[in-house]
């Protein structure tokens, strides 16, 4: 009993540590890739090739002044970043990184991720409301409207995955894809993949949809009044949420840690590579796509954002659901 708990705590610590390292370097990669997109070099000063830049940023954030604005709701103001980070970090407990590499293999893993991403909205709303600032408040209102709107097409895109698998367990979703000859759910439901990809951008407040923190009009949205380490927590949560969404895309549409069977039949040597490598490769491909989008696509207006959510993505996801239902009924009885 006690031993199990200790082992579990060590596992959690290892996952969290590795995750935080990945998040730190995601920031580095983002700055590097954005730099090269914009024909400059990105961070180069700290360490070889600027590799220690994340740690320098962290130290800088630690020693910044921690400012609580006058008239703010003090308790909620301090609680908001903790809520955001907790909700994102809890999502990692149900993600399978490789065969059997999952902290909690629960039956409702997919719903758990959805629940946590919808609880994360509260952190943003509280941050905006408790700051006692117009910009933060407007940012929070926008953000809650955006996240609620985009959760619906995302859920419907995931419903199609559920119809194909018949299970809410994330590991079972990967095993179900492994049974297909092409080894991925992206092939019949390319529309669902597209919808989820766009919704993931909106859910994590990434660039074409980063209205809540649009610098040109809202200073920094709900982050306006935050500084120092609290701001760092929001930053951490945003990048961790990118990892959660990339992992969900990998698990639900790209076959998780498995490779397509026709590839492994062609080159049996690929079976020797551990599954976590393929998982990370797929996750980083999607992360690169995120950063690429940030470097190229301009920001939408707010009414355009909601129009895309309700008038484009929702019908698309319903179409996808309909197609998948027919495919499931006709070809996979």
């Amino acid at each position: 009993m006690i031993l199990n708990i200790i082992i579990l705590i060590i596992e959690v610590a290892v996952v969290l540590g590795v995750l935080l390292l990945h998040v730190a370097y995601a920031v580095y990669f983002e700055r590097k890739i954005l730099g090269h997109i914009q024909a400059r070099l990105g961070p180069t000063e700290v360490g070889p090739l600027g590799l220690f830049q994340p740690f320098a940023d962290l130290v800088k954030l630690f020693f910044k002044e921690d400012n609580i604005p006058f008239g703010a709701d003090k308790f909620l103001f301090t609680a908001a970043p903790v809520i955001v980070v907790t909700c994102v970090m809890t999502s990692f407990s149900v993600l399978p990184f490789a065969a059997g590499w999952v902290l909690a293999n629960i039956n409702v893993g997919l719903l758990f991720i959805l629940a946590m991403s919808s609880l994360g909205v509260y952190g943003i709303i509280i941050a905006g409301w408790s700051s006692n600032s117009k910009y933060a408040f407007l940012g929070a209102l926008r953000s809650s409207a955006q996240i609620i709107s985009y959760e619906i097409p995302m859920g419907i895109a995931l419903l199609a995955v559920l119809i194909m698998t018949g299970s809410l367990n994330l590991s079972d979703i990967v095993y179900a894809q492994d049974k297909l000859p092409w080894g991925m759910f992206i092939f019949p439901q390319i529309i669902g993949f597209f919808v989820f990809l766009v919704c993931a951008l909106a859910e994590t407040n990434r660039t074409p949809f980063d209205l809540p923190e649009a610098e040109t009009e809202l200073v920094a949205g709900y982050l306006t009044e935050y500084s120092g380490f609290r701001w760092g927590l929001f930053f951490l949560a945003e990048y961790s949420a990118m990892y959660v969404m990339s992992s969900m895309l990998t698990i639900c549409f790209l076959g998780g840690w498995t490779l397509p069977p026709f590839l492994t039949n062609l080159l049996p040597i690929l079976n020797l590579v551990p599954g976590i490598i393929w998982f990370l490769l797929k996750v980083y491909a999607i992360m690169f796509f995120y950063i690429w989008v940030r470097g190229t696509v301009p920001r939408y207006r707010f009414d355009q954002l909601l129009k895309i959510g309700w008038k484009l993505l929702l019908p698309l996801s319903l179409t996808n659901l309909f197609i998948i239902m027919i495919i499931k009924k006709v070809f996979m009885p």
């Binding site: 409702v108 959805l114 629940a115 609880l119 709303i125 609620i148 299970s167």
Partner: protein, 171 residues
């Protein structure tokens, strides 16, 4: 004391205390946030009852949709708590007596409602298939009428909300 009883008593006590906190808050946003905490504890109680699907639905629908909608409206209208007409002032003895009567009736009547009949979904069955799968099977076989009613129940207020709230104020 065994561990299930320990956990249950924590969740039960916490939800009672939290619901007391909820009904006495003056600040609406604080009340909604305490309600959020209460709903999370209630979904913890559902986990004890082998209803993991329902626990997640509680979090997604109640915490993720209904309460966000409420908080959104409070923030949109920018309602502050109004100190005049102070709350809880209308607490009178007949009301308290009425509530105690309702509580007594509920507590007694619910005990009698337990029929001691054992259905086909024993704990072993729920553990081998999952809770969600069995619920889906029930929904699409015996309970298809509630499913259709649920569709109508969700469809009508959607139109009502759009008609009522989407009205432009002309003045």
């Amino acid at each position: 004391m065994s561990i299930p009883i320990l956990f249950f008593s924590y969740f039960a006590l916490a939800s009672i205390v939290l619901s007391l906190i909820v009904v006495t808050r003056k600040n609406y946003i604080h009340a909604v946030l305490w309600t959020l905490l209460l709903f999370i504890h209630i979904s913890g109680i559902y986990l004890f009852l082998n209803a993991e699907f329902f626990a997640m639905i509680q979090m997604i629908v109640y915490a993720g949709a209904i309460l966000v909608m409420l908080i959104f409206v409070i923030m949109l209208l920018n309602v502050r708590h109004e100190d005049h007409l102070s709350d809880l002032s209308s607490l009178s003895i007949p009301k308290v007596f009425f509530v105690f009567c309702v509580f007594g009736i509920l507590a007694l009547a619910l005990q009698a409602s337990y029929l001691n009949t054992i259905g086909k979904f024993s704990i072993d069955v729920v553990n081998t298939f999952s809770d969600a799968k069995l619920l889906g099977q029930v929904f699409y076989s015996e309970a298809n009428l509630p499913l259709i009613i649920m569709g109508v129940v969700l469809f009508v207020p959607m139109i009502a909300a759009i008609v009522l709230a989407g009205k432009r104020s002309d003045e």
